[in-house]
Symmetry: C2
Subunit: 431 residues, 2 copies
């Protein structure tokens, strides 16, 4: 029924037709890749391929050329008048985590298809080619590695990445990619399958994975950058265990109170940095005393915790890490404890393109919408393109209940606003 | 060899003889109840009984009457001239935790025996009877219940206590007590096996289980009171989980940072209360995020921790608990989290007798020793006697490395000072 409906829509293209096409596509995706709880589109697996197939078939109904690239991603094109000019690219990913939500990723691909369908129906003949990507393997749930489809395109997948076994089936990534039709030999050689000189821009619409747009009552926002992060998986604080009743305060070296003080001070620094206009979030997600030795009536001699800071700014991350080291030293002196930090893990922030941000914000203004740009805390394929030198930009669409769960909820009205912004930006950029 | 040595000592009694007798007894205890790592004198079990037997045999060598009471504790007497007067009692416990130290408990019984032996040898004929107890079952390691021997004497052991299975063998406490010779029927009825009206005082020497005397370079201290405590086994803080990158600070309800702030504020209140002269120690010994849902890149939505405050003062414990509740409320409002406190568990502090403290401190002064009374953070049988209305007092002896481990280390010189103070106090009290 979904497919027949899509066929009947293919002749007309209007804002109403956009809504119907979007609803039909999201319904079909939900039906085809539903798992009873949420949806599952395993990276380089069956559900993901079904999603690519659905979008490809639909594009063909609208007479848009569509094919798979050498990394087995879906490509749909609206050919430009001057095909030798670098193209304007848009899209997002079609995979999901197990029992995930229907919109995380797919919204950006459907929005791109809507734009191409309407431009085509409206007889828009852009100067530059407009290209839509339905990327594979963005989520890290299947192989631990994220952004597989875009990284493969940009020659950034190593042979050790390709050897990584699927977390459930154990099948290596390379084998899964080959089965999906990717040219694994070229990928293994680190070849750039996509000539970035021939891509003028990357535009990605994505649901917001946090609660900001809901809280700010805004349907969409333009993304200023994608936060990088600095992480320690384990920081261990060592003090001295002892009888909880028999050791007075001045002779204690309590690891729990030392860590509590450290986190409280870092929280204060965080507030100060926000007050100075810095972009920053700080999280200690995993923390605890040692079950092998802890007891209610024992002064805790050891405690371990993770620490992560995220920011759009490399400088803010560096400054925060300096503060961490300073406070560890201060508390070591004050409390007679030791902090041992494991290897520092860095992920670079990705800066969105200033010209594209300006263009997108002008469109937002023109549509009479509130304009309050925001950072993306989660990672996206846009970061891979941006860090490969492609001017990149993102549109966030309001979404309830976060992402990576079946309860994610995007209003179709919000989605259509985002899709309209994407369409107008593609028309401007390709003109 | 130990026993033969004891026999040869029985004729002479001098300060030197005290040292030799103490060393011989401690060596014999270590040999008889050693487990290869530390010593093990299971409550109402084999090792404990061996310790009682050794002390009883030794007392008899010195012609001191010795027997087991209705709770199977060891009793040794130096009969007074007026046996109808309430007696002066001293002693401590002879059980230990598994792989424990040789002095925790035994030091007080050996010190009492030394005092009785020397008073007898010196021809001291006190007006009041002086009685030494080698108590059983003080440690909670075997049955979860502490102070079993003294509680049984004072009619404070319930039938549910008696039904408690041994943590390793599963044998009920009542059966273990009966096997050791206790009159379990009378104990089960809650009968007072010891008429507290016939006990004028309880004096207990014990190793310090904390590091204060080592740090203060003092061989002994007189104990002012035994800290009671207020405990919550589990306080749960509930915030809201979320993506660690995608939720800005103002929309977070981070359970870890809320608990860190709570503990840091309680630590500050603790310092303030100490500054006001209050006796207080505070410990959060068991704490952690939920392994079922925590992740480095997830805002922690839940965290659990234990909290314990100990003080000699009921008022200080109440004030601290009020501060806990106030701070929980404040942080709930500030951070949009919830604290759920489980049932509050109270253990009453035990006040040591002011007249006996004064007497003991005069003796300390007379011996030219530094006098700095201190609280006991750990519980002792003395708390059971004190709370049953028996004027009670304690002498702490310096000890390295805490207690409840084989590394505990008491200098014989320190012990002999403590034993001398006990002896002088018994002579004064019984005169």
């Amino acid at each position: 029924m979904g497919r027949a409906h899509i066929m009947s829509l293919a002749s007309s293209a209007s804002p109403d037709a956009d809504r119907v096409l979007a609803e039909v596509l999201f319904d079909a995706l939900r039906r085809d890749t539903g798992d009873g709880i949420g949806i599952t589109r395993d990276s380089y697996g069956v559900g993901e391929t079904m999603a690519l197939d659905l979008l490809e078939t639909t594009a063909r109904r609208y007479e848009l050329p569509a094919w798979r690239d050498a990394a087995a991603n879906l490509v749909v094109e609206l050919p430009g008048r001057e095909p030798t000019l670098p193209a304007i690219a848009c899209g997002s990913h079609l995979d999901s985590i197990p029992q995930g939500g229907n919109y995380d990723g797919a919204a950006g691909v459907v929005a791109g298809l809507l734009a191409l369908v309407r431009m085509s129906a409206d007889g828009v003949r852009p100067r530059r080619t407009v290209r839509l990507y339905g990327l594979r393997g963005e989520e890290s749930a299947a192989f631990g590695r994220a952004y597989i489809g875009s990284s493969a395109l940009l020659g950034q997948l190593s042979s050790s990445d390709l050897a990584t076994p699927h977390m459930v089936t154990g099948r290596p990534l390379g084998a899964c990619m080959a089965a999906a039709g990717a040219d694994v030999d070229r990928i293994a050689r680190g070849e750039r399958l996509l000539d970035t000189a021939m891509i003028a821009a990357w535009l990605e619409l994505h649901i917001e994975q946090g609660p900001v747009l809901v809280a700010r009552k805004m349907p969409v926002a333009i993304v200023t950058g994608i936060r990088g992060n600095v992480r320690h998986r384990v920081i261990e604080c060592t003090g001295e265990a002892g009888h909880s009743g028999a050791v007075p305060r001045w002779l204690r070296h309590d690891a729990v109170l030392a860590v509590a003080q450290l986190l409280t001070r870092l929280d204060e620094h965080w507030q100060t940095l926000l007050g100075q206009g810095c972009d920053l979030v700080v999280t200690s997600g995993v923390l605890g005393t040692d079950p092998a030795e802890h007891a209610i009536s024992r002064i805790p001699g050891k405690m371990r915790f993770s620490l992560e800071a995220r920011s759009q700014s490399r400088e803010t991350l560096a400054a925060f890490h300096d503060l961490l080291e300073d406070e560890c030293r201060r508390i070591e002196e004050e409390r007679g404890v030791r902090f041992a930090l494991d290897r520092r893990l860095d992920t670079e922030p990705a800066v969105m393109d200033a010209d594209w941000i300006a263009r997108l914000r002008r469109i937002v203004h023109r549509l009479g919408l509130p304009d309050e740009p925001m950072a993306s805390g989660a990672g996206h394929d846009a970061a891979v393109f941006a860090n490969a030198g492609v001017p990149s930009a993102m549109i966030f669409v309001r979404n309830q209940h976060g992402s990576h769960n079946p309860r994610e909820a995007m209003d179709m009205a919000d989605f259509l606003i985002g899709a309209e912004i994407l369409r107008l930006a593609l028309i401007e950029g390709a003109a």
